[in-house]
Subunit: 189 residues, 2 copies
């Protein structure tokens, strides 16, 4: 890994988000990101495949942790409870300290069509991974795919509310509220 750079990855991420926000994703080069972080391009490429991956690098790790928690839910858990356990397992990542970073990232992605598509593909891959985890628990189709899609809908609502500047709600609490709301709106009369 060459010479030790204290928190090189974090510095690159912060520098990239700043530059994407200031001048747009398209207009920013890897050389500029490395320069802003006080590091070399070589160091950048030790951490990220390209400038797009700075925005998506964490997502595979997150997905694997969610899937692991779905798999590890008690055998007696219903499909939606297994998904809830998975989503809850990573809720701690979205702390209030992370929120400004998440907001910046959200703004950069919203401003660029290619990144919006990449984000939608990411969510679709989460949904597919959740459905797969449920099938491995013995859940049939279409229940597995449907529950996975519903899980993604729940996350989307909770996440949007969490990003909202108008409140300082805890993400885990918003997630649980969103799941609770789900049961309320789908309950028969």
């Amino acid at each position: 890994m060459g010479r030790w750079e204290p928190d090189a990855r974090g510095r690159l991420e912060r520098a990239a988000l700043e530059l994407y926000g200031e001048r747009g994703f398209e207009q920013t080069t890897v050389a500029e990101i490395a320069g802003r972080a006080g590091l070399t391009e070589r160091t950048f490429f030790r951490h990220f495949a390209d400038k797009r991956e700075v925005l998506f690098a964490g997502s595979t790790v997150l997905r694997d942790r969610i899937v692991g928690a779905v798999a590890g839910a008690p055998a007696s858990a219903t499909p939606i409870d297994a998904i809830a356990a998975g989503l809850d397992a990573v809720a701690g990542v979205f702390s209030l300290e992370q929120r400004e970073h998440a907001r910046q990232r959200h703004g950069v992605i919203a401003a660029n069509a290619e990144l919006r598509e990449r984000e939608l593909i990411k969510m679709a891959s989460y949904s597919a991974a959740l459905a797969d985890a449920l099938r491995k628990r013995g859940v049939g189709e279409p229940a597995a795919s449907l529950t996975a899609e519903i899980g993604i809908a729940v996350v989307r609502i909770a996440f949007e509310r969490w990003l909202d500047e108008a409140n300082d709600r805890d993400y885990r609490e918003l997630l649980r509220e969103s799941l609770h709301e789900l049961r309320a709106v789908t309950a028969a009369e």
Copy 2:
């Protein structure tokens, strides 16, 4: 509207889908679509703004019909029942005769990143319109947005199953099954 062309719109749609499938969306010109349909470019532009809109022209009409049916659901209907009434109101559009057309369209969109994004934006606009229709019925947030997202998830599952060559199920029946499944997977123990 100039000289009468019997079913000009339908002929243009079929010609466009054929050509998009044969040589790709990018590689097809409006002149070629008009030529294949035995019509002029001028006629094409009387019906569609551009070659992309051939694939999305029906979606606003469909969305407005769904929203109308949500608004017209009995005041006593729960949010999810109002959404179900909206989705059911347009289910007749997806007849078995329409399925080959829908499959072709699905294949063309899947093969092109710009079209995939346009389709995802269309689904997001459906979700926003459904949430708005629910708020007008007095449903609060986040219940309105969540129920709308769930409605879209239900449609997506039903639609994918309907497109599946392995069965010849009726779309309305698949939609109802998907809604039924939704209640089953979200029910408390």
